[in-house]
Symmetry: none
Subunit: 457 residues, 2 copies
């Protein structure tokens, strides 16, 4: 059956690439208010292409910021329903001077297509639409029921889509979600991401004296808000990276022996990782855990930023009145964000130094997520990926968070297949972002093949 899809894709490669370039020329930078017209244009382009691919229902839904595009094609009674998600918005291209060719003039070089959003996520999102087009060409319609939800605020927090999912569980009801917004472990290696860490992000503000004091006159007797915050934060984690906040590890689930064993087969060079990716003198983290475990399967406590007192050039001898830190805890599956937030609040209460008052402000909280590898849709996706790329599919996790996956789990009760065709060197959010053109076509083929196989279930 795949041969028909393959043939259709092969015959239409040139047009598929031109259409993607057209989408990439639209500077749909969601964080810039002045690009509002562009985000609307990108939404319209996506809606038009979904209609052209045959979707009988296509809606453009206005939000407080950038429009959502929703489409459905539910003409396969008795077959499962897949909710496909993607985003048409992109990161700002700065610093512009580092781009070899302009970010919104898609350019082919060495088998790659260079443009802002080529991999994240226009190229991957658009491959879904082209897969639907191919399925329609071959079968007249997709072999399963399809719902599509494309947003334009992924790079700015995704508030509108989160609210939409929460408010429309019936409309979005499906058996599984499918997202192509991740990367393959390395070129040619089919990869399904089956675990994401969650995130609890907080701001801690420490207040000491009523105002900044002269450190000569009051030093020795007055509390210092910066030092108070330093004392507090230093107690949150030890030198080995082990979090000292009571209760944090209570519900942490270790990866299975099988999963851990599978990670040892992934190609990984710690020296190269240290030198080329991290760029510090040493790696840090919990002894007895591999880098994969530390970054994929262990909670972490990080201070993302800290500010307080005098930080200009030269010297000012103040005892600072206030200091603020942005901190987060990454969560692994089974950890309850509410429980973690409560644990942090209790820790701050119990460890606030003498003379200091601390306020904890919660900015966001979402759980870690895992999809079971024996879930049927995952099995089918792994096989389809493997069939097209000719290698066994590996299961990895990501230490990062994709909030929409949590929204699908919470409000729709469905797992998400993270089937991405990006590569580790695509340069997401960086100058010279690119997408491998071969992966674009193979992604369309893989997606088409997945829908075919999933219909047989």
């Amino acid at each position: 059956m795949s041969e028909a899809i393959d043939q259709y894709v092969a015959e239409n490669e040139a047009r598929f690439l031109e259409e993607l370039k057209e989408l990439l020329r639209i500077p749909s930078i969601s964080t810039l208010p002045e690009n509002k017209e562009a985000t609307h244009r990108a939404a319209d382009f996506v809606a038009d292409q979904l209609a052209a691919a045959g979707f009988p229902v296509v809606e453009t839904i206005e939000t407080e910021r950038h429009p959502l595009v929703y489409a459905e094609w539910l003409h396969s009674p008795g077959k499962p329903t897949v909710l496909c998600y993607g985003h048409y918005d992109v990161q700002p291209p700065d610093p512009l001077e580092l781009w070899v060719t302009p970010p919104f003039e898609p350019t082919e070089r060495d088998g790659n297509l260079y443009a802002r959003g080529s991999a994240d996520d226009k190229g991957q999102m658009y491959s879904h639409i082209k897969a639907f087009e191919a399925l329609r060409a071959v079968y007249g319609k997709p072999p399963v029921n399809i719902k599509v939800l494309i947003e334009g605020e992924e790079e700015v927090g995704g508030e509108s889509v989160a609210a939409f999912v929460a408010a429309n569980p019936e409309k979005l009801k499906a058996d599984v979600a499918l997202v192509s917004d991740t990367e393959m472990y390395e070129a040619g290696m089919p990869t399904l991401n089956i675990g994401l860490r969650g995130l609890v992000y907080m701001e801690i503000e420490a207040r000491g004296p009523a105002r900044d004091l002269h450190s000569g006159l009051y030093g020795g007797a007055a509390p210092n808000a910066v030092f108070g915050l330093v004392e507090l934060l230093s107690k949150a984690k030890n030198a080995n990276g082990h979090i000292l906040i009571p209760g944090i590890y209570d519900d942490v689930e270790s990866p299975s022996a099988d999963e851990k064993a599978s990670w040892t087969h992934l190609p990984f060079d710690e020296k190269e990782y240290l030198a080329k990716e991290v760029g510090s003198t040493e790696l840090t983290g919990e002894p007895g855990y591999s880098v994969f475990e530390r970054t994929w399967a262990r909670p972490t406590f990080e201070v993302h930023g800290i500010a307080g007192g005098f930080t200009g050039a030269g010297a000012k001898t103040v005892i600072p009145a206030t200091a603020t830190a942005k901190v987060s805890i990454r969560l692994v599956p089974r950890q309850d964000p509410d429980k973690i937030v409560a644990a942090v609040r209790q820790f701050v209460k119990d460890n606030t130094p003498k003379g200091i008052q601390c306020e904890v402000r919660l900015l966001s909280a979402g759980p870690g997520l895992m999809v079971k590898t024996d879930h049927h849709a995952i099995q089918v996706a792994a096989k389809a990926f493997s069939d097209i790329f000719g290698k066994p599919t590996v299961f990895t996790r990501s230490g990062g968070s994709i909030p929409i996956v949590g929204d699908f789990a919470t409000h729709l009760g469905i797992p998400t297949i993270l089937m991405g065709f990006g590569l580790p060197d695509d340069g997401l959010h960086s100058p010279n972002e690119k997408y491998c053109i071969r992966n674009y076509f193979d992604g369309i083929r893989t997606l088409g093949h997945f829908f075919e196989e999933y219909a047989k279930a």
Copy 2:
């Protein structure tokens, strides 16, 4: 004799106040390169006023940063020579939004003059010039020999004046130095400061990964520069305020039993000090030491400012590549600044966390100092102060540092009279700094009276 001075001051109060306001309007913030024009303007103002007060020699001396003003009036053969010092530069006014009236628009409220630098040190420094003017009006010239040295870098380390003093011991030769840059113990209580803490001020920069990393992808394995700095700083001092840097307490000299006993007679209400001055929930510091001992006679470690990572609004999940803290140690007499700097460097070396690299930059270093109360000039000053304010003069120390006092001791071999007219609630270095207008005039009278009395010796 004092009546004539008193009368001259009384007749000229309005003009003296207007002239001071003119000086206070000049934003001579020495730490900001963009205010260079203003510091020059302040120096010119001071030089012009010294000339107007009758000084036959007035020199403006360019330096690498801000000009020095030197003047001399040596027409009293056989009489002692007093070297008067002050500074025309001021601290930055931040945070601006906390000022009731703008920092460089001097405003009278409730008998005070509000402006940055009103007490520290323009108001006090200018009272010297007005005392000279009064002495000239009454006697045609000051009754002792006067040398004046006014600098513009006191708030940024005073490098130029230190170099000038070191290079010109013959030019600056005097019997005693006189500085009005301190405060009275409480309103109406004449106070001579006989002890100062020294200061070693440093910047510590921590570097972790080569660039800011995504905390989802690298969190758990990559070093965090902010947390590394937090870990390091937290080890410098314990929760009781005891410094943990090895060697810091080696040469600390305790105050004599007599001096400690005299402090117990100073009016002091710890609750009021906490509520009105410090404004925090509790005082901090070393158990077993009084507040006077903690702030006057014990070394302290403070973090004046800290910055690193993302500190804007909202959330950004970075592992910061760099973080910087400004720190200082206040020194008591007998502690050697060089030894203390070496101890801090060694401490940082020994305690830099894994994966982090730290750089220590020394911004300034000066020793603590004491003047003997039986010195003749101190005795005369105490009497003059007492005569004008109608109360016995008390001897206190300050926890602050006046590096020039150390330079005068080292290079000129002379003690310094610290005769200040500030008040404890003047808010030096803080928003809404003010100077009591009555003290401004009484300061001029006291200084005039001191010169009269010192001439009789």
